[in-house]
Amino acid sequence: MSIIEIKDLTKVYDAKSLPVHAVNGVNLTIETGEFTAIVGPSGSGKTTLLNIVGGLDDPTSGDVIIDGIKINELSSRQKTDFRMRNIGFVFQAYNLIPVFTSRENVEFIMHLQGKPKDERESRTNELLEAVGLGDRMNSRPNKLSGGQQQRVAVARALASKPKFILADEPTANLDSKSTENLLEIMEKLNKEENITFIFSTHDQRVVNKAKRVITLQDGAIISDIRN
């Protein structure tokens, strides 16, 4: 069942002076349970595509339909609410809140959603255990390694029970071992929990794990290979 439908998506920057087609007529469908890598050289439009799919940016034309809702037609406030409830984000730079512990970083989304305390606590424990950080719940990010921080970020992304997770270069700042650990966790979550992951990446290790690899060049899809 398709969770994301992208129809004739275009994003043009500086339309009046020197137009740059960051995304150029992309058509794409993502199914539930996919483990998809979007690859391409720098400037190919990967991050722009992910930002539009995540409701962080608006297309110049075309539609992004998530679970039957055209998110490009939502207001800013509606998009924020939609992201909170439906989309998980894992960023390249981990982006944990430095003044919160691992537990608090994971709980934060559920606070925003208004979930009761019991539910927040039990889900946080479950997620941090799932990413192998059950013993680092009360540590702040500055006490965690890069790999551990990224795992907390994954747990945070999963906290809201999102429809899919967008991961923009999640392994870019990690060493080999941390990358391996992170990918194992994500793969496990994908297989056991059927969580959809969409990566933007330059990392061959991610591509090797991916079930589907979409290649972008100059804002357009030039190949779409399922493994």
Binding site: L56, T80, F91, F108, H111
Partner: protein
């Protein structure tokens, strides 16, 4: 969680937050301490006016205050004193004879106000007896005693036990005089008052001028509290043919002093807060600039703009309140200490005395001023937060995330 988040964010850069909090603390401390100091000065002046110069209320014959005419007498002044003492809230009352005339020593002479007092009642109404620095207060035993100020003694080049000549006009408008021996020398905080007034026994002055025993020019009244309106109204009704005035009416500039100083000090505090606002706004704008990436991330994961706005507002208000409350606590502590110990501005004693102020200041502040200051600090914090929070609202999440 947002308040907790905001509070913790304050301490991410401890030095920067500490500097701003210290600035707010110092500003508020200075504001309320100065307010208390000025209050202390004003209270001291008012107290001096009441306890030494005017008392709470004075009664005169109509027109006496405008003309100072010897003939404008309260004919039954003793009865007036008796009736006044029966009025609720009155502590004591005293009859006075008041004559503007001349006093001379062997060396020189000068114009003074000669105040003939009833020593036994006067001591209950004013603190003159406590201002005697050498000699004694007027009693019933001496012949023609006079009490003058240290300043006037210096001017006349006289000292204790010397005689001075008082020249007056009697009831028949004849010039007459008498020799009076200095039994006591006083010193108040008001050098103008000291130079202008001398005190003799009322009966001596009556005998010299030919006044009848029960006549007088003034009845000075001391009350239990400084609020005079009710008693003034009561006495005005009791003596409809006489002029009954409170110290505020007798010395309007002193009355205005209290309300004017309160207003000036609030303006001063507001000016301090406005200045501090700029510092807080600058700091919070730096905070926003440093955290653009993080704010973009927060909006990306689902923190809506209202919550981002609330978080920035709370951080700013916490910053202001932390400094403000610390300043209030430190200020209150200092005020409480100096309210007992006093602040001795001895190096400005002469200058203060020329203006009628004591150089020993006991600061005082009321809870209403503290509460209003705390509210103003919160308002300043909210006001300071508006622009930085607005800047945070205008961020585009996708662009903000890309910012390093």
């Amino acid at each position: 969680m947002i308040p907790s988040f905001a509070w913790r964010n304050l301490w991410r850069n401890k030095l920067r937050s500490f500097i701003i909090i210290a600035a707010v603390t110092l500003g508020i401390f200075a504001g309320i301490f100065l307010t208390a100091f000025i209050n202390g000065m004003v209270n001291s002046r008012i107290q001096s006016i009441i306890s030494t110069e005017m008392s709470h209320i004075q009664i005169h014959q109509s027109g006496f205050l405008d003309n100072d005419q010897f003939s404008l007498l309260i004919e039954n002044a003793d009865s007036v004193v008796r009736l006044v003492c029966e009025t609720p809230d009155v502590v004591a009352a005293s009859k006075r004879i008041i004559i503007n005339s001349m006093v001379a020593s062997a060396e020189t002479g000068t114009g003074v106000k000669i105040i003939g007092i009833d020593p036994e009642n006067e001591i209950k109404v004013t603190e003159l007896s406590s201002k005697i620095i050498s000699g004694k207060y007027i009693d019933s035993t001496d012949h023609n005693p006079v009490v003058i100020s240290e300043r006037l003694a210096g001017k006349l080049k006289v000292s204790l036990k010397n005689k001075i000549i008082i020249t007056v006009q009697d009831v028949n408008k004849n010039i007459t005089g008498g020799a009076f021996r200095i039994v006591g020398i006083f010193r108040t905080d008001n050098s103008m008052f000291d130079e202008a007034n001398i005190f003799v026994r009322g009966t001596d002055l009556s005998r010299l001028t030919g006044l009848k025993k029960h006549e007088g020019h003034e009845v000075a009244i001391l009350l239990k509290k400084n609020e005079t309106d009710d008693v003034t109204k009561t006495l005005s009704g009791l003596f409809p043919n006489l002029e009954v005035k409170s110290w505020k009416q007798l010395s309007p500039e002193a009355g205005y002093l209290v309300s004017a100083m309160n207003q000036y000090m609030f303006i001063f505090i507001i000016v301090i807060l406005i200045a501090l606002c700029f510092g807080i706004i600058n700091t919070m704008l730096m905070v926003i600039m440093e955290r653009i990436h993080e704010l973009g991330m927060l909006m990306a994961i689902g923190m809506n703009r209202a919550r981002v706005f609330a978080m920035i507002m709370l951080e700013t208000v916490f910053l202001s309140l932390t400094g403000g409350i610390t300043g209030l606590i430190l200020g209150y502590t200092a005020i409480k200490y100096f309210a007992k110990a006093g602040i001795n501005l001895y190096f400005w004693k002469e200058a203060f005395s020329e203006l009628g102020y004591s150089s020993y200041i006991y600061p005082v502040i009321d809870s209403k001023t503290m509460i209003i200051t705390a509210i103003l600090v919160m308002i300043a914090g909210i006001f300071s937060a508006l622009y930085p929070a607005y800047k945070a609202l205008k961020l585009n999440p996708s662009e903000a995330i890309r910012t390093q």
